[in-house]
Every structure is written in C-alpha cells, then in structure tokens.
C-alpha cells in the first residue's frame, strides 16, 4: 500500500518535472520560463522526495532537510534570477 503510494508520488513528481521543463524549449521570455520552472519543478522535486520518504522512512531527517532546502532555496533563487535578469532594461 505505502509502496504504491510512494510510486504514485514519484510519478506525479516526474509529470511535474516534464511540465515545468518543457517550456524551456521555446522562444518565450525568461520570466515566463522562470515561472513555470520554479513552480512546477520545485513541486515536482518535493513530490519525488516525499515519495522517497514514504519508501524509506528510516532516513527522514535527511529527506526532510532536502524538502526544506528545496522549498526555501528555489523560491529565493527564483526571486534573485528574476531580479538579475530584468534589471538590465531599467538601469
């Protein structure tokens, strides 16, 4: 039961990865790509890590740290990248 649930979580994560990464190939603006990447990619990664957590609950501190650092760093990184890439037009 739990094994199936973890595979479902990982499957959802992989789907989110494809969803977030696919817009990278295309002629959209950096901010559009950054949006899809930071939202879908982070959610996908977190879902995969939750799936792993369900699979092996023994290593929960490590995986919890992974989830927290994913959530915090990717959000901050999204802001920093958006600030750095868009401040060029309005000096």
């Amino acid at each position: 039961m739990i094994n199936t649930l973890s595979y479902v979580c990982i499957g959802i994560g992989l789907f989110f990865w494809v969803w977030g990464t696919w817009p990278l190939v295309g002629d959209r603006s950096v901010l559009f790509k950054l949006h899809s990447l930071s939202v879908a990619d982070t959610l996908g990664s977190m879902s995969i890590v939750v799936g792993l957590l369900l699979k092996i609950p023994r290593e929960w501190p490590l995986l919890l740290l992974a989830i927290i650092s994913l959530a915090i760093w990717n959000t901050v990184l999204g802001y920093v990248l958006a600030y750095c890439s868009s401040s060029k037009e309005t000096p």
């Binding site: 990278l24 950096v30 990664s45 995969i48 490590l62 901050v76 990184l77 060029k88």
Partner: protein, 83 residues
C-alpha cells in the same frame, strides 16, 4: 526504480538541449538551475536505490550549495552586463 532513473535522464536532456541551442545567457542560467536541482534529486534517488546514506548526504549538500553558487553567478553576470 531503474525505470524512474531512466525517465529522469530523459527529462534531464531537455534543459541540456536548451543550454546548447539558446544564445541568451539568462536562458542558459535557467537551464543550469534546472539541471542542478535535477541532478541532485537524481543523486538522492541513487542513494535510496543503493541504501547508501553517505551518497544521500552528499546529494542534500549539493542541493543546497549548488543553488547558492547559482545566486552568486547570477549577480556576477548582472554586474558584467551593467558595464
């Protein structure tokens, strides 16, 4: 689990292709950030697959430190473009 890893490798090829074909530096940085987080998640999966705690720790450290390097790089590139 092997199948999951193969699918992840296939997904990893998308940002690699993007970094190859796009000439805008910010698009390349985006592809880099995507690749950095994907590879560290893959390291985590491999560590679970092999039941190796040491590789897992390395994966988590790379996950947090790689992003810090990316932020520094973004700021440096911004300064370069300001010149």
């Amino acid at each position: 689990m092997n199948l999951i890893l193969i699918i992840m490798l296939a997904i990893l090829l998308i940002p690699l292709y993007e970094a190859w074909q796009d000439d805008n530096i910010w698009q390349k940085v985006l592809a880099f950030s995507s690749i950095a987080s994907k590879t560290s998640i893959m390291i985590l999966i491999v560590s679970i697959l092999r039941d190796d705690w040491m590789i897992g720790v390395v994966g988590v450290i790379i996950l947090s430190v790689g992003n810090a390097a990316l932020m520094l790089l973004a700021h440096i590139i911004k300064r370069l473009n300001d010149l």
